[in-house]
Symmetry: D2
Subunit: 258 residues, 4 copies
């Protein structure tokens, strides 16, 4: 049976500020990446989000980021490997507390924003993230980019005995080499629910994606990243989910596939 994981960033509210439509998205996904209070989220939000995910049977992952609330973790911060390792451990540990209290086991770790991107291009960062995860629990899954730019994270994961889950983006354009087209390029972000759902299907069923130049590219992804920050984004997740299920593809948490 074909399966795929749908993952989404969750728990990004902070204090009195709301962000995301977690209540609507949670029933549609199989894995939730929960912010850990450094770039988004706070202790109350983390508790509530873990509970929500647990109640829906959604797999829980930590979503650690740079210590930059003001910049939502989207700005690169020059850090040593020792810093990154300790930052990942701190945030994953904090989220683990809420998993323990809610009787669930953490499944994966996916770095957020600029930390995710830096890990894809900077070996010291990639190794530090992997080392931090493995130091806590080597059976935690590590999430990295599918395609050529994910290689550093895969190698770093291997170095520390982690299983790396490869992630693709149905709403993003890809280049002929399997790499993401940068956001500032026209056409880099797709928003038509039918088109995005078709791309998700092709990723999940055929392990391929239609590149921006019209060529068909191989892309082996274990999880598809979706968004839930506005009603249109939620519609898009719904559309992806419907088509995948209609085509007989089960949506199951990233760890479930052997």
């Amino acid at each position: 049976m074909l399966t795929i994981d749908l993952n989404c960033d969750m728990g990004e509210s902070f204090g009195s500020w709301r962000m995301g439509m977690d209540d609507q998205v949670m029933p549609l996904i199989s894995s939730a990446n929960i912010a850990c209070g450094w770039h988004a989220g706070d202790a109350l939000v983390m508790d509530r989000t873990v509970q929500l995910a647990a109640s829906r049977g959604v797999a829980i992952g930590a979503h650690p980021g740079y210590p930059d609330l003001q910049g939502f973790g989207r700005r690169r911060l020059q850090c040593t490997g020792r810093e990154v390792r300790a930052y990942v451990m701190y945030q994953v540990g904090a989220l683990m507390a809420f998993c323990t209290a809610n009787g669930v086991t953490m499944a994966h770790v996916k770095p957020h924003g600029s930390l995710y991107n830096t890990a894809a291009s900077d070996e010291e960062t990639a190794l530090a993230v992997a080392e931090g995860i493995a130091a806590l629990n080597p059976s935690l899954l590590s999430v990295g980019l599918a395609g050529p730019r994910g290689e550093l994270v895969v190698r770093a994961g291997k170095e520390f005995g982690l299983r790396v889950i490869r992630e693709a983006f149905p709403d993003r354009a890809y280049a002929a080499d399997g790499d993401l087209v940068p956001r500032n390029v026209p056409g880099a972000v797709l928003s038509d629910p039918q088109e995005v759902a078709q791309r998700a299907l092709m990723m999940a069923r055929d392990h391929r994606v239609l590149a921006l130049d019209g060529t068909m590219v191989e892309l082996h992804a274990d999880t598809l990243c979706v968004h839930g920050d506005n009603p249109a984004a939620v519609d898009l997740v719904r559309s992806i989910r419907s088509l995948l299920q209609a085509e007989g593809i089960s949506i199951v948490a990233m760890g479930s596939r052997p």
Copy 2:
């Protein structure tokens, strides 16, 4: 055999700022309360301090505080029980990550500064601290004041199945009812190493303390709190330790006594 625990707040450096003489104090104590990054400490300091404690065989406790770095957690912040519970869980979880990575088990939780004092006088806070600890691991020891003002914490601990460790302060004056004399009262803080060591001995051996009014008061303490923030404080710990050992009292971690 008589035993007592000596506990000290550790890991209170932050970023480029140093605080405390952890290297000198660690060999002298049996339990370290390690700051968790909200009122003091940071991820790198936590990692280093857990390692230092582990290497010396010192029992490790979390030292969670209010989210107030600027005020060092010494200012009361009006929080709901739900907030306190989540704040304790977040911080204890973060420190647990470094315990796991360093192969040691966390032994206790002692709230810091104003959170410690608020728990002693506000039932909602006392219950929330206990609930947060128990939600993570009910075999974690909870630390509270010896004497009448510690009753709220003891009862809150019982409510959630926690063992509460009672703490006394050899360098602080006590009132005839077994309560601490407020710091602003003349004579409230003692600094003579011989005198403080004698008081520690009396606490550990006789379960008594000489009150400010000259009466002898019963005081049942399982752990004595010492300080390590300056050379004089370290001398004082040394003096306490020497006298206790000379009198045949073993200094062992708070959890060790049945």
Copy 3:
């Protein structure tokens, strides 16, 4: 000619988090209280909000709060007078920078949330806020509660040579002594636009308010506080503004009345 000021808290977005409907509200009010980055707002939001107010001819005030982003400045933080004074100065100074850069003069200072409430009940805080304002510019207006609970702030203002502007809340119930009814009392918050506008009119024209027990109470207010955090709140401001203008009352910034 009768005049009144309508003031509203503005610039409460932070980083990637949006709060408030500043664009809709700004054209409706005469004074904007702009958050200064400690409980809400950030440097970019402050710059943008000052610009928006200036472009609409709305008077600008600083809205300093406790250093508690997580709690949105709504939780009491035990601070010394020296701390409060310095915190007010820091935040007001920071906002002044954006006033200077945008070619406008700051008109008033209104403490936010718990700092506002604490100043109403704690003399040390009231004096410290006034001292901080006066140290920067004694011609800045200070905003405090109308009614009996505003007396501390009035006296503190006098002590430091400040003119104190008295504030009333058209959408809040009042007790027979002119004090606000606490929010948790049923009926404490009003939401019917017609009713709230009528109360605003009575406050502005008759200097009176109908108390919860049916008695008519004198209340001398120079400014009415309105909210803009959701569409219903904006409708309410619109309703107040329409009725006041229809009744010939000019809506002008708080400093304009001699």
Copy 4:
């Protein structure tokens, strides 16, 4: 008459953490760069440090940095020009409040740590810093590196009508092109008081420095940066000051030279 300015970073304590020997250093320097609470310092420390500088007749400058307390502003944070401009304005404005309250005028702005270095190599940052300063007060002096690496800051200052003060480091080795030798190169940092004082004298009197390769390099500096974070550093400042004065060079604030 020959004159030179001695500047030092001051007010870097934070909350309960002490840093620097401000009391000893202040009488020895002519310009103080005061931290503004984002990478170091807090409102109380700023108030105290401005007072201390004012009481000694030392010129006051703002020392804004990246929002990174944990990293002491020493880590590059990827920021847009709009962010840098607003961050500079916020911090300079906050310090201005304490200048106003203490009856002194701010003289200069010197970016801290990584912001200083980024401004030297990234044009967008250099322009944003200059724009932020000029928006507040174009008669504020801007401080940048002497030598070739200072050109971006000089040009950015010109763009916004600022006078740029060039800074040299008597305790740092220079390359033959007038650029600083990176800290990780052996010999990059000098610590012998006699030698450092001699280099300071040569910088102030001859506008030259002996480069690491033995060549004599022209270097036009208006201010010499000194440090005060430990007793040896303070001795070094004393040694510099004594030799300069013995050689008839007056130590006066950076703005004083026409």
